[in-house]
């Protein structure tokens, strides 16, 4: 009996050490960011009025971008629109203009410098259907990328065609208008896609948690936090 115990203990030790080597430690940085990352940039919600978080949060259920996104910066991305009385559009919603958020003002979420943008991609003609011209290089549609000069980069995507009013090289300040909400790129309806990543490259980097300061979530003032799916949020 004693021998069996010793042998089984040795087998367990052997197998577990093999597993450590075979699985490797890649991903510990991801874990650390998940558990401990504090956003350096002073961020505020990049819109006026009250908006609805349709994707946002740390769980598989709330963070709809978890599944496609490591390496393209979107693990902690938000999709945000406007919902009034449980609906995001008027009428049958078949036109972009039917959607409450379409054409709404979008602001810089923090101070920084515009380092990349696209402003000339047609909005998807019909909500729910992505234009055939969209490919891997244009999935963000019209977008801006802001360098916060601290290793954090904000991407705002799916702007309405031709509405971006800043240029590459411009310095922006928190709250400054940058463009209007649209439905361009890989978007199934007018909304804002927002995420923070750790590189200046277009959809090429690791996503970072984005904590906003001083906002209301379901009418509760949050000094610093991450909105989650299902919350109605607005700036203080």
């Amino acid at each position: 009996m004693k021998h069996i115990k010793i042998i089984s203990t040795l087998v367990v030790i052997l197998l577990s050490s093999c597993t450590d080597v075979l699985i490797g430690d890649q991903g510990t940085t991801d874990e650390d960011r998940y558990l401990n990352y504090q956003t350096k940039t002073d961020l505020e919600l990049p819109f006026d009025e009250e908006w609805y978080i349709s994707v946002g949060g740390r769980t598989h259920l709330t963070g709809g971008h978890h599944f496609i996104t490591r390496g393209v910066g979107q693990r902690y991305a938000y999709d945000i629109g406007i919902v009034i009385d449980g609906r995001s559009f008027i009428g049958d919603g078949s036109k972009n203009e039917d959607h409450y958020c379409f054409g709404k003002r979008l602001n810089a979420p923090g101070d920084g410098k515009i380092i990349a943008l696209e402003n000339n991609i047609d909005d998807n003609y019909t909500p729910g259907i992505v234009n055939r011209s969209i490919n891997a290089n244009t999935i963000a549609g019209n977008y801006i990328l802001i360098d916060h000069l601290n290793g954090e980069y904000s991407m705002l995507a799916h702007f309405k065609k031709g509405t971006i009013i800043v240029s590459v090289g411009d310095t922006v300040v928190k709250g400054q208008e940058v463009g209007k909400t649209g439905n361009s790129g890989n978007s199934t309806g007018p909304h804002l896609h927002y995420h923070v990543q750790d590189t200046p490259d277009y959809l090429n980097g690791f996503g970072l948690p984005a904590q906003f300061n001083n906002y209301y979530a379901d009418d509760v003032l949050i000094a610093s936090g991450e909105p989650i799916r299902g919350q109605m949020v607005r700036k203080e």
Binding site: L15, C18, T19, L22, I23, G24, D25, Q26, G27, T28, D30, E31, R33, Y34, L35, R58, T59, H60, L61, H66, F67, I68, T69, R70, G71, R75
Partner: protein, 239 residues
């Protein structure tokens, strides 16, 4: 309790087999094997979750059909089913259900047979569907790999034999919810190794104990690694 229940069919079959032990004398061409066992696995899928290592345990069940040709070649098809839960103590909120359904098809040609040792070499196809079950939505990965397979068998005496199988996948086609890609050996490495003991209860029935080691590793930004250790007990019907 589950383990006790598992052994009931084996004990019944053992009695059944003993009764038939002296009835058949011809060499059987077909065999059908059912096995079940304990799986201990670990998974890293950084595309799916920021977890360096999930662990999962559970029962794995397999059903295998094998055909022996008159020249000693082997055609095998095996189905496997595993249902478990991916677990990490570090970020428990990201634990989730995990189901794997696999099918292996191989054709192995006998290249050596002497002094109770036989060696088979050939090709193998391995299909796998991995289902990640979160609260009210599932995500899946479909893998299809092709590679080389081999089997080494050693007949100790009429009743006892040892066997080992080794398969090396050479190319992998992977489809996820986000994309579809083909990986060759420079980015994908895997191995399926199996070793076991076979005890003939009768001309029709064998009892098998085997250990399986499976490993997959993808060198991509969305890093993927998976290792499985399995201890299986099976019953093999020959006809």
């Amino acid at each position: 309790m589950k383990i006790k229940l598992l052994f009931i069919p084996f004990i019944s079959i053992l009695f059944y087999a003993t009764g038939f032990a002296q009835m058949e004398t011809n060499k059987k061409k077909h065999s059908l094997e059912f096995s079940t066992g304990y799986n201990s696995g670990s998974l890293k899928n950084l595309e799916f979750a920021p977890i360096a290592r999930y662990d999962y345990n559970g029962l794995v069940s397999k059903l295998k059909y094998e055909r022996h040709s008159s020249r000693g070649n082997l055609f095998t098809i095996q189905l496997a089913y595993l249902n478990s839960e991916l677990q990490t103590d570090l970020i428990p909120v990201l634990n989730l259900g995990y189901t794997k359904i696999g099918m292996r098809i191989s054709y192995l040609k006998q290249v050596y047979s002497k002094n109770n040792l036989s060696i088979h070499l050939g090709l193998q196809s391995h299909s796998n569907v991995s289902i990640y079950a979160k609260e009210n939505e599932n995500r899946s990965i479909v893998d299809q790999s092709f590679g080389l397979g081999s089997r080494f068998s050693y007949q100790i005496n009429d009743k006892h034999s040892l066997f080992s199988e080794l398969a090396i996948p050479m190319v992998l086609f992977r489809v996820t919810d986000a994309n579809a890609n083909i990986f060759s050996l420079n980015r994908y490495q895997g191995v399926l190794w199996n070793i076991g003991y076979n005890h003939s209860l009768s001309k029709e029935i064998d009892l098998k104990f085997s250990y399986d080691f499976n490993y997959d590793r993808l060198q991509i930004p969305n890093a993927f690694r998976e290792v499985q250790y399995q201890f299986n007990l099976g019953i093999n019907f020959k006809f």
